[in-house]
């Protein structure tokens, strides 16, 4: 596809963890130095492969959280699933200096290209914010003019990744709005009780379908199903609603 960062062939390579950073009590950003990274578009992911001493290995996909200014490290942000095989290793065991095998970038559809003039609606459930954060960061760096709205559903205020950075960007990046939905516990003084994302949320905090926004919905499968169904019911063109389902129920 024209304009994607897809190389002809995706080769496994060893990246080095250069830093780790807690985002929430259960999510962590891992900063990766990748010697031979061809660059990526916001929204793409990479595949990561862990190998045990006896050769047993496990692969998983992780979205790229960082933007790509043409050089520099690549960041992923991983949410711990308590009974998971790979995510607790990444959130609790990995340390700077460790080497991790990966390949990428992958995916030519769930990407935002800064040449697309339409306004953008981002809808995130939990760790689904990760690829959307890459889009927000890219927009900020390019000082792109397309207005962005992010609707970000989290259980509690403590579960919001990138909360500080989002606050700062809402102040400094003109045309960026962020609206939180809290499903279990709201911050003190929040005007509404906890609730799941619904028609009212997407109606009042998204763009009207008439604006023909590019919509990106990402998160656990059930969240994406719900949000995408509502968007279509509100009149958004299904072909403008791009989805990435992370799995789970």
């Amino acid at each position: 596809m024209a304009g994607t960062a897809l190389p002809g062939r995706l080769i496994w390579q060893a990246a080095t963890v250069s830093a780790v950073r807690a985002e929430t009590p259960s999510a962590r950003t891992i900063v990766l130095d990748i010697p031979d990274w061809p660059g990526h578009l916001p929204g793409q992911h990479l595949d990561l492969r862990l190998t045990a001493e006896d050769g047993y290995s496990a692969q998983r996909s992780y979205s790229i959280a960082s933007d790509w200014p043409g050089a520099g490290p690549v960041e992923i942000t991983v949410q711990r699933l308590e009974d998971g095989e790979v995510s607790p290793y990444l959130t609790d065991v990995v340390e700077p200096g460790d080497r991790i095998e990966l390949r990428g970038p992958i995916g030519g559809w769930f990407v935002w290209r800064s040449a697309q003039p339409a306004p953008v609606l981002l809808v995130a459930g939990g760790s689904g914010v990760v690829p959307l954060m890459s889009m927000i960061r890219e927009r900020g760096r390019l000082r792109a003019r397309q207005p962005f709205r992010l609707i970000y559903s989290v259980r509690t205020p403590e579960d919001a990744s990138f909360a500080g950075e989002l606050r700062r960007r809402v102040r400094d990046d003109p045309g960026l709005d962020v609206h939180f939905v809290y499903t279990r516990k709201t911050p003190d003084g929040w005007p509404a009780p906890p609730k799941r994302i619904d028609v009212a949320t997407l109606n009042s905090h998204g763009w009207p379908p008439d604006f023909a926004p590019d919509v990106f919905v990402c998160g656990p499968t059930s969240f994406v199903e719900t949000a995408a169904d509502i968007l279509v019911a509100l009149g958004h063109d299904p072909s403008k609603v791009r989805t990435e389902r992370f799995g789970g129920g």
Binding site: L10, A14, S57, R60, E85, G107, A228, P238
Partner: protein, 199 residues
Amino acid sequence: MGIISRGFGGRRRDSAPDLPPGQYLTQDFPVLSAGPTPRIPLDRWSFTITTETGRKHTWDWAEFTALPAEEITRDIHCVTKWSKLGTTWKGVSLDTLFEDVETAADYVMAHSKGGYTTNVPLQDLLDGQAWIAYEFDGEPLDPEHGGPARLLIPHLYFWKSAKWVNGLEMMHEDEPGFWEAAGYHTYGDPWLEQRYQGD
């Protein structure tokens, strides 16, 4: 091959029988789709095979479900790494659907509601290898999983098993479909780990 991941044990190894490389077992039924799930009323459903000469063979829901159906039990493998063993389906074999279709073309583009496409060689669809499935686990197929009916080609990665399928178009040359143009492999054999372009 593979550098050792310090301190990685692997929790799911006991549940990893004979899986294609890089896959792990799941009991769930995860979903991979590029957009919202379309809801297709049965009275508006149809399925069409279009040959390279433009000849069309079309079935509506009543005609389609009146065709001889088969019970199918197969393992399925998704490019996002999960595999599911012994899934059971009911559907119409493509051998049945192609019985009266005359074609000299070797490739097929599967079309789905919403404009998604995926390409498959015709020889992978025939000889008991592929179906249009409309039941999963004894129940009508969920829209989320491609209902009312989806292509089922269990020997290829599961994105080839186009959800919400509504037609097959014969082609002389192999052309990339939607996922393939977005970077996935043109053929997609899980045992050769053909996930992405160039694998």
